[in-house]
């Protein structure tokens, strides 16, 4: 089974600064990769996904992520964060033939004014 590692449980960053949230997954022949965001007291919302093709994926709210097969990573980035980006971010992975997604333990992003 797949596994996902999000090494940073908490990331504080000042408003308008860049941010990178790290995600690594266990190796597989091919995978689908996802980032989800969870705002307080809400469900998870899809930010972006990688299925195939270009390794740089752009998502909503100015976020992007880069798939790196050799490093089995799918780090999430944003060049300039806003207060409203404060939330929990989850990386998820699946094998194309799998029934379900495997989630990381999440990274809490706190944007400081």
């Amino acid at each position: 089974a797949q596994s996902v590692t999000q090494l940073d449980s908490q990331v504080p960053v000042f408003e308008e600064a860049p941010v990178e949230l790290r995600c690594n997954y266990s190796s597989s022949v091919s995978v689908y990769l996802f980032w989800y965001v969870q705002y307080p007291n809400q469900g998870l919302q899809l930010l972006l996904k990688y299925l195939s093709g270009s390794t740089l994926v752009k998502g909503i709210n100015g976020f992007e992520a880069e798939f790196n097969k050799s490093q089995t990573s799918f780090h999430l980035r944003k060049p300039s964060v806003h207060i409203s980006d404060t939330a929990e971010y989850f990386c998820a992975v699946s094998d194309p033939g799998a029934n379900n997604l495997f989630f990381g333990t999440g990274t809490r992003l706190t944007v400081i004014p």
Partner: protein
């Protein structure tokens, strides 16, 4: 409906009681998933329904947990004889025709507290 609807949003129950959590998926989504989100532990897969196929129950933590999906739409997750370690947010998600790269649409969850 426009999104995945879960009820109740919050549930407090006494240890040993049974609880039922409801999920109403997006109309037309044939796949339905239940996950459990415990503090600091990410999301734990519980069960998966796809159309009329037998559900994938591989994630259910014990035989106190069960789920059904009636008419290919609404699903109910039942926890019998609740324990304090069952306290968590239970999330439901639905998807078009199984995962296949579509990702999930999640509900807002049911926060279960066992006292």
């Amino acid at each position: 409906g426009a999104g995945v609807s879960q009820s109740p949003s919050n549930k407090v129950t006494e240890k040993g009681k049974d609880v039922e959590l409801r999920c109403d998926p997006i109309s037309g989504h044939t796949a339905l998933y239940w996950y459990r989100q415990s503090l600091g532990q990410g999301l734990e897969f519980l069960i998966y329904f796809q159309g009329n196929s037998a559900p994938d129950k591989s994630g259910l933590p014990s035989d106190r947990f069960s789920a059904e999906r009636t008419g290919g739409s609404v699903s109910t997750l039942t926890i019998q004889r609740t324990q304090q370690e069952d306290s968590a947010v239970y999330l439901c998600a639905s998807s078009l025709a199984g995962l296949r790269g579509h990702g999930y649409t999640f509900g807002s969850g049911t926060r279960l507290t066992v006292v």
